[in-house]
Subunit: 251 residues, 2 copies
Amino acid sequence: MTEAVHTHHEHRTHGSHTPHIEGHFESSEIVRDIVIGLSDGLTVPFALAAGLSGAVASSRIVVLAGLAEIAAGSIAMGLGGYLAARGDAEHYVSEKQREEREIIDRTHDEEQEIYEIFEQYSVPRANAAPVLEALKQNPTAWVDFMMRFELGLEEPASNRAHRSALTIAASYIAGGLIPLLPYMLVQSNFMALKLSVIITLLALAIFGALKGRLVGTGGLRSALQTVLIGGAAATVAYLLASLLNNHSHSL
Amino acid sequence: MTEAVHTHHEHRTHGSHTPHIEGHFESSEIVRDIVIGLSDGLTVPFALAAGLSGAVASSRIVVLAGLAEIAAGSIAMGLGGYLAARGDAEHYVSEKQREEREIIDRTHDEEQEIYEIFEQYSVPRANAAPVLEALKQNPTAWVDFMMRFELGLEEPASNRAHRSALTIAASYIAGGLIPLLPYMLVQSNFMALKLSVIITLLALAIFGALKGRLVGTGGLRSALQTVLIGGAAATVAYLLASLLNNHSHSL
């Protein structure tokens, strides 16, 4: 689900490079991936199943469509997350190599860029000069400084791509199976729909509350938001499917 | 789909605060939202329809499930994007207010934080002191400096939340309708599946190539990646649905 979860948590820890906080930062990326997978997994298969249950008689088809959706969604999100993370890592490396070349080949330009960075904050050249002096003593630090302050890039955790893909996909599957359970266990579609609505809204509320605590938006508000998204998606899918179904039957 | 599209473009422009580049940055956010919506919209409804077409006889049910998925997915992604963007904006404002208080109430601590930022790049306190002097002359610039260099936060564009939600949802719908078209127009499920595979893989390739040009990963490689994701998701959904269908029929 887009970048729903630039967690506040993550933002907080962006600023620091100490080993302790790096650990913190990595674990928050896993949390973020779980949140990404769960929020879509709990929402879309739920809404699809609800929509279909109003239009088809057999709960077998609802389960089939739900499982096909979970397979498609988890692969699309997992592979998408994998490629995104790998792309970020490659991008970081290539930009870093470019900066490493530039501080040697185009030293003067890079010096100007440092002055320009500080000028954005009304720091005169004379005041920025000593910082430039210090950075020139230490090319590694200079490159790191440019990566962060010129380009705004963070070094991605190694191995992030695989872990990210698996975490997102597994969370999507886990989330998606919850709304489908009643359709697997209960014969009547209508009864299964009612049960699915109850357990999924409950799961969305618990998930939203936990997410809200983690990212600092507050449990209750976040719970209401996740329930709202899931509920709205399911309601619209239900109404749309019912409408289309009636329409096509009346033809 | 997660953060698949931290475009390189975007990263590039992060560093600058000039009006011209801000405009650039905003348009790249719209592109990013379109990419987010299209990549999921082209993939998941396509895979779901392919999966179901192998398991149910009626193309009516495939279309119904596909449209219900598009409704559910576009709302989940659109609302999710809306809340994420609004959350980012609120987070930025609250952190900025905190920094504004802190440079007054805890001036000494904030000064120390500036020294610490520079120490990460081996810049000694003596060299960082003139920058601090300059920032203290200009509290607004000081706060902006802390927002970016301590917390790593960018000011989100105003009105971003609404636009982001609508762009993502509309792109998801547009992408999702492409694979469903054949099922709406062709009677035979098998024929519709073949047509859907052809036009969707073509659309994924074109979309991937354009995306690759935009973000700088190269058109061909990006095209192969989007086709791979869509193809893998559709294949697994198809196999899973066929398997489950045969299994449940044999019971």
